[in-house]
């Protein structure tokens, strides 16, 4: 059974880098797929890769991760409205999916679309 855990932006953004990365590593080691509202910054992303490499062992093979921005190609006024709305709602654009490599085979990504392919669990158990 696949477990998908959703983390809203306000729950994630208030955490320190240590807490964010700890939360992600714990969840993926528990074979959960995380759907995070928001994005890690580049430094947090590279630190996540480093920690993932440290954590790799017989059972944990690493992670699959992808994030997308909500690219908005409207005019200036539309962009302003969106920024004001995001400011008032304390929202930050973007979405991140991260899962364990033993469960998630591949995350295919285009600029605005993410496809997640999972491993055949029966095949894996063989």
């Amino acid at each position: 059974m696949l477990t998908l855990q959703y983390i809203p932006y306000h729950d994630f953004a208030s955490l320190s880098m240590e807490e964010k990365l700890g939360k992600i590593i714990r969840a993926v080691k528990d074979e959960k797929i995380l759907l995070i509202e928001g994005r890690l910054n580049p430094m947090e992303e590279s630190e996540l890769i480093k920690r993932t490499m440290h954590a790799i062992n017989k059972n944990f093979k690493g992670i699959e991760i992808a994030s997308i921005d909500y690219e908005f190609k409207g005019d200036f006024l539309e962009n302003m409205k969106r920024n004001v709305a995001h400011f008032l709602l304390r929202k930050r654009g973007g979405l991140t999916i991260v899962g364990p490599a033993t469960v998630v085979k591949e995350i295919r990504k285009d600029p605005s679309k993410i496809e997640l392919l999972t491993l055949d669990r029966k095949k894996k158990k063989r």
């Binding site: 790799i56 690493g62 992670i63």
Partner: protein, 209 residues
Amino acid sequence: MIKRVKGLFRGFFRFFKKKKHIRLGVYGHPNSGKSTLSNKISKDWLGEEFTATSSVPHETREIVIKEKITIKSKGKELTFNLVDTPGIATKIDYEDFLKYKLKPKEAKDRAKEATKGVIEAIKWLDNMDCVLVVIDSTQNPYSQVNITIIGNLAARDIPVLIVANKTDLKKADIKRVESAFPQYKTIGISALKGTNMEEFYEELFKLIK
């Protein structure tokens, strides 16, 4: 007054910084052709290769540096230290290496060394003056690894040239690489066949200046 003193110090350090050779890093996914490109540069200007290449991923598992490479183009000269880095990945499974007919012990050792190599490559980002991000132009460029590398370089204000490699292959798509990172110059080459290397060196001059 304080600003003026700070400015003097900055100028002083910049003077000494200019004296040392520029560090040109080569970054990218495993098997994107980083070592093939590093070897091509070394062979073109020093007449010798300096790092092993292989179709098995994670062949480069340690930082490899070739010092004092001087390249020339249109009467200009440029000297730098070339730093070939291990491929950055988010997952490493020793079982993947078994497909390349490695023995289980060799595969496990390779996987262990590869994890260390990824960590080293990331740590070395801070030491680079400019970076070539090598992308396999037959693959989807929108990978999180590419985005993380480029995001980190942008955050550190390190100049970047995107190298869309393997243009000799049928599936190569330089336009897709260009459109993934429109804020950076992309140059299409085949490091293996030596295609478009002259233009690559011209872009390298512009990058390092």
